[in-house]
């Protein structure tokens, strides 16, 4: 290991940052997980339960919620929303405005489904965690998102 070789120095920089970054997270008062954890999928949700929940749901369960007229929120960017979204879903706007609009329809303890594009996108989870921080207690992330919903041919609409 010749420290005069530039690439050796670069690698050393990365290693130092890695050690400090991960090390400081371990001793931090607010550590974050090294890898974001995926939510566990629950099937057959007991909607009347009073327990706070944040869980992922399958397409089947999402359809059940849809038929029970649970409110859906589309976590994707506006342009995707306008190109097509689950019928009646709310558009992802500025968080506080969005929460204000949700609270015009229902309170924070009423079930809410959040979804984004496909099982790989993280937007729905992020938005669900934002909602949780803001005091919402019944949050469901529909992992399959727009991809599974539109494939299944379930009710959807386009436009603003």
């Amino acid at each position: 290991m010749n420290i005069r070789i530039p690439i050796v120095q670069a690698i050393l920089l990365v290693v130092i940052s890695l050690l400090i970054g991960l090390g400081s997270n371990i001793i931090s008062s607010k550590p974050i997980p090294w890898f974001a954890e995926e939510l566990a999928v629950v099937d057959m949700v007991e909607i009347k339960s009073d327990e706070p929940i944040l869980a992922a749901i399958s397409l089947k369960q999402a359809k059940v919620f849809f038929d029970e007229e649970v409110l859906f929120v589309d976590a994707r960017d506006e342009s995707y929303y306008e190109a097509g979204h689950i019928k009646g879903a709310m558009k992802n706007i500025f968080l506080y405005e969005l929460i204000f609009k949700i609270e015009e329809k229902q309170n924070k303890d009423t079930p809410l489904v959040v979804y984004c594009g496909d099982p790989g996108c993280g937007d729905s989870e992020q938005l669900a965690y934002d909602f949780k921080d803001m005091g919402f207690t019944k949050l469901y992330v529909f992992k399959g998102g727009w991809l599974e919903w539109s494939k299944a041919g379930y009710p959807s609409e386009v436009g603003k």
Partner: protein
């Protein structure tokens, strides 16, 4: 060209890049969770890896900034600045090309920082940093460098 690669220009470039990278790292170091969300918005990493990057990248920016100003492993620091700026340029360009309008997450990741959207200006700025990085890497004089000692 030689003028660019000698003394004062290189020192100025080191101060500018060092300052920018240190400044850019501080808010992210104290808010790894918000930075992870900002990274997620770019849709370039598989879900789950944002946290790891959010913990390491800010420190890499900070240490690179300190080292390039202090004259420690300037070659390595210049390489890291070149690599990081290339990655930033690619990440921002692909987001712009796909038409997704997102917060930059470049300097500030606090939720109050609305309006720090990515745009063509962001890309040009990063290209500027990239050029400064190359100037430093190909410098001809090694003034104010302390480790490893210039030959």
């Amino acid at each position: 060209m030689n003028y660019l690669l000698n003394g004062p220009v290189i020192l100025l470039a080191r101060l500018i890049l060092g300052g920018v990278f240190i400044l850019a790292s501080l808010d992210k170091i104290s808010n790894p969770e918000a930075f992870a969300a900002a990274i997620g918005n770019y849709h370039v990493l598989p879900f789950g890896l944002e946290n790891l990057l959010a913990l390491i990248l800010p420190w890499l920016e900070f240490i690179t900034g300190i080292f390039i100003i202090a004259g420690i492993m300037v070659d390595g620091a210049a390489i890291m600045i070149i690599i990081m700026n290339m990655i930033f340029i690619i990440a921002i360009s692909q987001a712009l090309a796909r038409g997704i309008s997102i917060e930059c997450g470049c300097f500030s990741v606090s939720s109050a920082a609305e309006g720090d959207k990515i745009g063509i200006i962001t890309v040009i700025r990063d290209i500027g940093y990239l050029i400064l990085g190359f100037l430093i890497f190909y410098r001809q004089k090694h003034k104010f460098e302390f480790f490893p000692k210039p030959v």
